[in-house]
Symmetry: C3
Subunit: 344 residues, 3 copies
């Protein structure tokens, strides 16, 4: 798997400043790259690494950087160009991935498009419809009445419950669970009575679902994930959540039931969203913040406190518990000083 | 799957105000329900949606709301009534779910009750005992010496380690892991020596365990989950934790080792509990709070800070790190003002 | 499985104060242990339980405690001695664990050492190399080009992506996913373009990976876990993270991309680490703290606030949002008092 710089520069629609016949065979980070590797610089603060980099070629944005490297490909957005190039170096899986493994259990009522690859021990339930060129990894279980759009890839040991709809060109990573019951119970004489979860999960096109992420089915209506949404690992999405197109959810986020998230939002790692909230488009929440109210204005939001040494933090945390007293002290002082100033 | 309103009203022990022969065939949320659907109103703040709802019938609590809807069923607790009705509309699984799939691997020493359903590729280890009417989804692995109570349903790709005991009428969702080793290591010359985890996990009746939730086996004694406990997705329950009957644990909660939680407690999403704590009955902890001390009084508890715009939050967080200085400033001012007042 | 106290005391290199032929057949916690059980005391605050304990023998540190118990084994570090003894009482798995189950799917190009045990439905991909005495649980999927070191044990339903390298004597618990794609996307005209993740995951010797933990493959370079690292359940380790030898990561921790953690660090439950940070050796972070900056000094670090009753917490949290106003009030008071003092 190797390419000439001419091929690379055409692929990224960049301007080649160097040898068009120079061949690169893999990618490398700037400070580690070898002569047979292609690298990139997206953050100017690493510009000092350019002169010492052994990379065979570098994707750059500033013409002035071209002379510092062996070969340069000038592009408007080196990070995006790098993303485009990364696709060229994906190795095709070998082994099981040519067709349908004989150990796969396919229900007779399931339907299968052209070019479908099913790994060993894949289970496809009744009435489930798999579109063309879908790949499903070993041990993955698709229950009944599921629809999978074309070119979607599902890794090993994924579980999809009945009725889930997954769009085209999605990627679902190992251990993800889609369509499990939402957490719904009515109090009943000191115990909990289950509210059976009768909705489903509808996922758009070009969605990525991370490893061991869970997306619950709706209670009555569906849980809905828009097109182009990217979800990292170990994320919990509760019943009836709606996520708008192209929002990105980092690892360990938890979104409680019935909350609606707009388009092009980003939630940082470990963020928590309470239930029944409405978050408008283009909202960004920083890591481990807790959102307990709806957000109507685009922008960046945070909660939490800054890191400190534990002894100092302990004193601050104890003091914070008495902040109301401090406020009362200030009010009293203001009155006293006001009296003194009046007298004066 | 459709029912007359007479049937529905009998099932929920409600009073029908409308046509007893009117037929509903599914459930709908108030603002979306169609004439063939049944809905409910539990929160009075949605009462304004009643007049415009097209629902065929609505479970209501207030007699005055009856005239606003097509047909009404008067009940004391519409949310609980809705939970009861939801059970009527659960579709029976088709496909694999009639009996024991030939690909299931059952150890010759395992025992199996009547009416057991095992999906494709289920694995049942040595000496494991499955009671009557248990259903186990595809790819689920039960190791050795496990006991499963009657009518318990385990979804696909669940892993139960040896020795785990699961009560009757439980539901375990996909990806859940029960009986993995607790996180126990003794420091030994700069490295960690494993404390082998010799206890097990004992789970009561009517427990629900969410998708990708993990419950570790005890170190010496057992980890114990009481009857009627409901656990959401991606929850971590460490070794030797004890959870009292009918407590409910929301998604992404982490409970450290040997903590004891009382009955009828609720832990909000993302809550953390430190180890070796004792939490009394009827304690409620709000989302993402960290509990680092035992709680002896019932009530609601919280930690954390409120959400703000990131720039404003950043200033508050920086200021909080200096709150001790503020307290010192106040003390100094109080002394100075006291002196001034005395002089005055 | 039973041992004389002579055998036990030799195994832990302790001094036996009691009957060398006394037999113990299992372990028990101090207050519950029966005469046929061995217990230990590591925390002096439980010393009052010694006299009433029925344990057949107790691992102790203080000679003065010996007379309080039936038989004593004097050791320097009872907790470590207990860890060593716990190994004696691990039961060998029975059932499937004698050899390679006929339902295991092994690619013809995979290689297998001596004494390898593969449970039912294990899948081993092309060119994957399994060393001697490796045990792999039912339903676990190893993709292509994977290397597993000797005596490593992988539980049921684990997923390893292609190219992952796992050292010797590791333990990987059920549901763990190693080698899934890192969360890398470049913004592209309002959508996200995937950066294909071309690195892998390299894990050292004696590493434990908890249930449902996820470790992503690197984008270009590898994600690296050092020797002796212990990782609890539901931990997220993002692409290109590096963790130094003998660090321990508690449950529900999330570590964002490219962060480097030193040796012998401990991260408490639910801790979050932002990306691209550098944490030096011997850093300890308390539960649920968020680390957003590099840490260059060993020590203990924290963030967050203390638990309070919800009504009191609500007032403190509201006041904290106005802490900048409080600071301004103090500054104003200081000026006014300074003026008054000058006048006076």
């Amino acid at each position: 798997m190797s390419y000439t710089l001419l091929e690379i520069s055409k692929h990224v629609e960049g301007e080649l400043l160097g040898d068009p016949d120079y061949v690169v065979s893999s990618l490398g980070s700037l400070h580690k790259a070898k002569p047979e590797q292609l690298s990139f610089i997206s953050n100017p603060k690493y510009a000092n690494q350019l002169s010492s980099s052994e990379a065979g070629a570098v994707l750059i944005r500033d013409l002035k950087d071209a002379s510092k490297v062996r070969n340069a490909i000038l592009v408007r957005n080196p990070y995006l160009a790098f993303a485009k190039v990364s696709q060229l170096f994906v190795s095709d899986p070998q082994g099981w991935s040519a067709n349908i493994h004989p150990s796969a259990q396919i229900h007779p009522t399931a339907t299968m498009g052209h070019g479908v690859v099913l790994g060993p021990n894949v289970v496809i339930g009744a009435n489930t419809a798999i579109s063309d060129n879908v790949m499903i990894g070993a041990g993955t279980v698709l229950d009944e009445d599921i629809v999978i759009g074309e070119k979607t890839r599902i890794a090993a040991n994924v579980s999809l419950y009945s009725g889930v709809v997954l769009g085209a060109r999605c990627i679902v990573h190992s251990g993800a669970v889609i369509g499990s019951d939402g957490f719904g119970f009515a109090p009943d004489q000191g115990a909990w009575r289950k509210i059976h979860q009768l909705g489903s999960v509808i996922i758009g096109d070009d969605v990525e679902v991370g490893a061991n992420t869970t997306i619950d089915r709706g209670a009555i209506d569906n849980t809905i994930i828009g097109n182009g949404v990217k979800i990292d690992n170990l994320v919990q999405i509760a019943h009836n959540v709606v996520i708008g197109d192209n929002s990105a959810i980092a690892g360990c986020v938890g979104i409680a039931g019935s909350s609606i998230i707009g388009k092009s939002c980003t939630l940082g790692g470990g963020v928590g969203l309470a239930g029944h909230l409405s978050i408008t488009d283009n909202v960004h929440v920083t890591a481990m913040s807790l959102v307990t109210r709806s957000i109507h204005e685009p922008g960046s939001y945070s909660s939490g406190t800054a890191l400190d040494s534990t002894p100092k933090w302990r004193r601050s945390a104890a003091r914070l518990r008495r902040i109301e007293n401090m406020a009362a002290q200030i009010t009293k002082l203001e009155k006293q000083v006001s009296t003194l100033l009046t007298k004066g």
